[in-house]
Subunit: 185 residues, 2 copies
Amino acid sequence: MVSSQQELQRIALAEFAIAGYTGTSIQRIAELAGLSKSSVLYHFTSKEALLEAAVSPAVERLNVLLSDLEDRGLNADYRATFITQFVDFIFDCRQEVHLFINQGPSLVGLAVIDRANDTVRRLAHYFAESTSNPHDKMRFGIALGGSAYMLCTADNFEMPLESDDETRQALVAIMNELLAPVRAE
Amino acid sequence: MVSSQQELQRIALAEFAIAGYTGTSIQRIAELAGLSKSSVLYHFTSKEALLEAAVSPAVERLNVLLSDLEDRGLNADYRATFITQFVDFIFDCRQEVHLFINQGPSLVGLAVIDRANDTVRRLAHYFAESTSNPHDKMRFGIALGGSAYMLCTADNFEMPLESDDETRQALVAIMNELLAPVRAE
DNA sequence: TGTGTGGCTGACCGATCGGTCAGTTAGTCT
DNA sequence: AGACTAACTGACCGATCGGTCAGCCACACA
């Protein structure tokens, strides 16, 4: 038996991610949960509080991941660790990632979104500064954006994914390729 | 002197792409254009008609690109041609692409969106069937999604891009890598 | 000088939005 | 039995939504 709070959080996250924050009404979430609109606002003081509860954990987790990366650096021995952790993160939090990647810029002003935007910017900045080669910067962007895209958006377009393990391993392998700073041409 | 129609279409596309279709009111578009809400609805019979006008050309262009690919196949000699055309397409239509990639699934029922979703699904399907190797399927997805991501979303997170030519060339090079069906391990 | 006509507008419509509030249950403790 | 509380609800609020409609105005053509 899950609590109404958890259930509402789960439903809201799914709806916010696919239909958008502004495109999802409290009424809609209430219907999916089998409750009234008033009940939703009983458990969460506002629509923004519901968003906060739904995506905040993912933002904090990405922040930890990024802080570790900034401390340890992208040298060859830590790179593999970071990549597996990053892939695991997107695996676990694909809806949250989809939400604050795609809606982050348009939801500025909401506290948790501002924090998410800062974190994503810091991540982008770190990779942009880790090489002076424009070509490599592009590789980094494609690795980060492409892997996030595969997990977050692919479902919506009926791209069939293999089993979780197979997908995870393939993602890790490709990211290792794309993030390798020196490659044979 | 550009016509009000063209101006409205341009403004609407930019707003729809960044703030979302449901998150953008006709009133908002009117303000940005320096017109009244009634004027917007004079030039376009409905909000949906405005969306149609804004993204339809991009959908048709992607359809042509995809039809050519389906006719010619992904053999080595045509692959390079497709990649440059695809990159050019995302370059020219990054707002439209951003819109129907991210909002497509939630805007089902709008005619132009349904057409866009069909086209994207066809594209995904083509690449998914062009190899039986799950690892390669993942490479294709990352190539298509990652390159789209770089051009459509990177701006929003202050990822500085190089000059257009440099970015385009880098994108083409990396996509050639990722789409090469046979590689050394 | 009239007669259109294309571009544009404000007033207005029903519906829905996020949010408030008083009140109704059902269960728990004393 | 009575008091308290957590969970939940319907009625209601002002604001905004997409859209309709009658009419205004500058300008072209007769």
